[in-house]
Every structure is written in structure tokens, then in C-alpha cells.
């Protein structure tokens, strides 16, 4: 969920979004009504012993290797929305607006783990964007 927030914005128009559910009739239900389990009728859905999932690279094309291999089992957009407070606290800390310790003075293990995951994927996305820019410059 945390990693999704990074790659959803990185992939922009090519990744899953709420607009797609608004435009395509029945898609929201197939995607689990904003956070539920996926429906059998969802395109590109796969099944294993734990239920239905969509591979990360199908949700966010051109995502990092760690995320591409992930098995996404509920709508990542809904998940990212639920974690918005953590994500905004991280980005405000990163931009130097205020330290994360002021908004979360007594973090739980899960919170520290979430910020760590968010940081790792944000760095990976930036690195990917830089590499792409270099490649584009090379080839005109």
C-alpha cells in the first residue's frame, strides 16, 4: 500500500486511478469497491492459494523491480488514500517543512517500517526517473 503511493504517482496516467472506475461501468466493483478483495471478473487478475491478485507491474507500469513483483490484493489507490496522513508527513519532513517527529512523537514499529518503505521506494523512483532522463538525452 505504502509502496503503491510512490509508483502510482510515478506511472501517472498509465497506472490505476479513480478516474478509470468513474468512467468504466462496473470496474469499481471488480476492483473490490475501494479496498475490498478483487472480483473474479477483473481483467488480468490471477489466483493463488491466498486468493486473487494483480501483479504490481500491471497496476503501475514501469515501476521498480521490488514493486513489479508484488502481488496486489486490493485497490492500491484506496490503500494509498487511507495512508495519506503518513505519506504527507513523510513528504513534509523530506521537504524540510517540519520534522516527522513533531507530528508523530511516539511512533509505533509499524509507522517506522512504513516510513522506511516509503523512503526506499521514493529514492528508487527518483533514481529511475534520473536514469530515464539520462537515456533520453543520450538518444535525443
Amino acid at each position: 500500500m505504502i509502496a503503491s503511493s510512490v509508483w502510482l504517482s510515478f506511472s501517472r496516467g498509465r497506472s490505476w486511478s479513480c478516474d478509470q472506475c468513474r468512467v468504466t461501468q462496473g470496474l469499481r466493483k471488480k476492483r473490490g469497491n475501494c479496498g475490498g478483495a478483487f472480483n473474479d471478473a477483473l481483467p488480468m487478475v490471477q489466483r493463488d492459494e491466498r486468493g486473487l491478485y494483480v501483479p504490481g507491474y500491471r497496476v503501475c507500469p514501469d515501476s521498480g523491480s521490488e514493486y513489479s513483483d508484488m502481488q496486489i490484493r486490493s485497490c492500491p489507490v484506496a490503500g494509498a488514500n487511507r495512508l495519506a496522513s503518513i505519506i504527507s508527513a513523510y513528504h513534509r519532513h523530506r521537504s524540510g517543512l517540519y520534522p516527522i517527529s513533531s507530528s508523530h512523537p511516539q511512533p509505533s514499529c509499524a509507522f517506522v517500517d512504513a516510513v522506511d518503505t516509503l523512503h526506499m521506494h521514493t529514492e528508487s523512483a527518483q533514481h529511475r526517473a534520473q536514469q530515464r532522463a539520462i537515456e533520453e538525452n543520450k538518444h535525443g
Binding site: P107, C109, A110, F111, D113
Partner: protein
């Protein structure tokens, strides 16, 4: 699906255990409750016992592991424990092939895990029915099967609210 972990180690959460005679649920409802912590999956009687838990901070988690013996735990036991098959029959056959030293190491590691669970509860349990509580009170629960199940379920709740888990990432 709600946010299943707590962001602050000062936040608390009330839970019940499914072996409580005042709590009714099917196996599926029990599994959903343990996954989500949502009591809507259960039929609660008036006298259901509520346990108040707090999320663990990184320091509290580390201290719990140290108190349980993290510095002296058996690394061989940890390795064997991670390699053990999931299927009970296969696991029994696999265990039968182990040498006495390996069985002892495995047993020591299992004991370490039980100690970690106890220490996690000691750090996380705030109260029972709004009265300050300790691990020792849980150890007095009878019958024995209810004591074991209560500790197991409380540990699952503590892990859920304190740790992100693979799926959460």
C-alpha cells in the same frame, strides 16, 4: 479494510478473544476478526471481556526481544524453524530425521518465541475490562486451552497493530 496498524505507540485498542463464552463466531468470522480487528465480525454478549492493548514502539519491541533472550537464542534453532515444512505430517517426518542436537536447538528456539510473545504482551497489555492488568493475570486463565488461545490471539492483535507486515508494504 481499515488501517490495521496504529501509527503511535501511545494509541490503544480494545479487543476481545474468541474463546470467551460471551463471544460467538464461526471459524471464518474468527479469522476475519483476527485479520482486521473489526468486532462487527463477532456477536458480542454483554459480559465479553475486553483487553486494552497499545502498539509497540521500536524500542519496546527490541526490549521485549532482549528480555526474551534474543542475545542467547539458538541460531541453529532459528534456521531449522524457518526450514520446517508447513504440513503437519511432513513436519513430523522431517522432525523425526533431526539429530538430538538439532531437536534441542529447535526446542530452545520455540521456547524463545514463546518468551517473545509473553514479553510483547507484558509491554502492550494496558488493562482488562478497564482495570490495570499484567501478563501474570493472563497466566491464571483456566482452562489451559483458553489461556493458550488468549495469549495467541492477543499476540496476533499486537503484531497487527504494531507491525506493518509484508502485505502492508
Amino acid at each position: 479494510m481499515g488501517l490495521s496498524f496504529l501509527t503511535s505507540s501511545e494509541q490503544t485498542l480494545e479487543v476481545v478473544v474468541t474463546c470467551d463464552p460471551s463471544v460467538e463466531c464461526t471459524d471464518e468470522e474468527r479469522s476475519q476478526y483476527l485479520d482486521s480487528g473489526d468486532m462487527l465480525h463477532l456477536k458480542l454478549g454483554d459480559s465479553a471481556t475486553t483487553f486494552t492493548l497499545k502498539a509497540l514502539s521500536p524500542a519496546e519491541r527490541e526490549q521485549a526481544e532482549i528480555r526474551a533472550g534474543a542475545m542467547t537464542r539458538s541460531e541453529l534453532g532459528r534456521l531449522l524453524w524457518s526450514e520446517a515444512p508447513n504440513d503437519q505430517r511432513e513436519k513430523a517426518k522431517w522432525h523425526h530425521q533431526l539429530s538430538n542436537d538439532e531437536r534441542e536447538a529447535m526446542s530452545e528456539y520455540q521456547q524463545y518465541l514463546n518468551n517473545v510473545y509473553n514479553e510483547m504482551i507484558r509491554a502492550s497489555l494496558i488493562s482488562i475490562n478497564d482495570v490495570d492488568a499484567t501478563l501474570e493475570q493472563l497466566q491464571m486463565i483456566r482452562p489451559e486451552s483458553h489461556r493458550v488461545q488468549t495469549i495467541s490471539e492477543l499476540v496476533l492483535h499486537i503484531q497487527r497493530i504494531s507491525l506493518l507486515g509484508d502485505q502492508g508494504k
